[in-house]
């Protein structure tokens, strides 16, 4: 990758990211929230994070599949549910995934 290509990629990604992150706050100001808006907003996090877990743990591009990382993430989920800290959770995910890869 040439320097020019790297800078073009970085510049475009920076501009697009700034636009995506800025548009909601730009359009919606400091106003009183209707009740329905709060109800939807409080449920956005579980919807987005569940989808991120599915896509990051099970998808490789458009292909769905189970791999060593799926096992690692599943055990990390057990640790999280039992109240482990975020650091422990990600450590379990990495160590289990590496161990499964090492033996398979």
């Amino acid at each position: 990758m040439s320097t020019g290509e790297a800078l073009a990629l970085i510049g475009a990604c920076a501009l697009i990211t700034a636009a995506i992150k800025g548009i909601g706050p730009l359009a919606l100001g400091g106003r009183e929230l209707p009740t329905w808006f709060s109800s939807v907003v409080t449920l956005m996090a579980p919807a987005l994070f569940a989808a991120l877990v599915v896509t990051q743990a099970l998808a490789d591009g458009k292909h769905l599949g189970v791999g060593a990382d799926t096992a690692g993430v599943a055990l990390a989920g057990v640790a999280a549910w039992r109240g482990a800290s975020v650091i422990t959770v990600v450590a379990v995910a990495a160590v289990v995934t590496a161990a499964v890869r090492a033996v398979s």
Binding site: E5, L26, V40, P46, F49, L52, V86
Partner: protein, 223 residues
């Protein structure tokens, strides 16, 4: 630096550490994709969006064009649209100032700043993102410089860190409400169904529609 800002920084420490590890694997990926080391660090410093950066460089590394790499980054970041809509009314100031503050939205900060009632604490958001910014940029530099000693990030399971990071955020949300559990299940199903047919990023954006269940659920206090 006020107390809420410092509280945000403290709450973000575990996410910042996990993000730093992820940034290290991004640094290795960028180097493998042929990006100059300084450019990888610059990208982390001004784009500051992990999944988008990884998506873009994965495509470059696989021989794809810059256009597809930029498109993939945009789609991966599309989840920040609903997050921005959610947080907008909680940000002070005029439109330009709100849009500037909205740049601080990253996944963990957005979740940490939420009060669970539909409003967000701006100072917690900024403190939390500041902490994660330091380790994100620093971790990228470590990956770029020390990547050859590290070898393949997959061998040591670094690729499992990102989904585990989101799972930790998700489980914290699931403890909050029953409705959240139903919405998470629907969101996961939407994503699962769309992965084979839609470009990466779209399944996550579409899954945010599951939160519309909130229009029909009578809200109840956290159990």
């Amino acid at each position: 630096m006020n107390a809420r800002f410092r509280a945000g920084m403290r709450a973000a420490v575990p996410f910042a550490i996990a993000g730093g590890l992820l940034a290290t694997s991004f640094g290795v990926l960028a180097r493998d994709a042929g990006m100059p080391g300084w450019a990888a660090v610059l990208m982390s410093a001004i784009v500051f969006a992990g999944s988008a950066q990884i998506a873009a460089l994965t495509i470059v590394n696989a021989g794809g064009g810059l256009g597809s790499a930029i498109g993939a980054a945009a789609l991966m970041n599309s989840r920040f649209l609903p997050m921005g809509v959610a947080i907008g009314p909680s940000l002070p100031g005029g439109p330009a100032r709100r849009a500037a503050q909205g740049q601080a939205v990253v996944d963990a900060s957005w979740a940490l700043a939420s009060d669970g009632e539909g409003r967000f604490d701006r100072d917690v958001l900024l403190g939390s993102s500041a902490m994660q910014y330091v380790t994100w940029v620093g971790g990228t530099a470590v990956g770029v410089i020390g990547g050859s000693a590290l070898g393949d990030p997959e061998t040591i399971g670094l690729d499992a860190i990102y989904p585990a990071f989101f799972l930790a955020l998700l489980i914290a949300e699931l403890r909050e409400s029953r409705a959240g559990q139903a919405v998470a299940a629907v969101g996961a199903l939407i994503a699962f169904a769309l992965v084979p047919v839609a470009p990466p990023g779209i399944p996550v954006l579409a899954a945010s529609l599951a939160s519309l269940i909130g229009l029909y659920v009578r809200r109840r206090p956290a159990a």
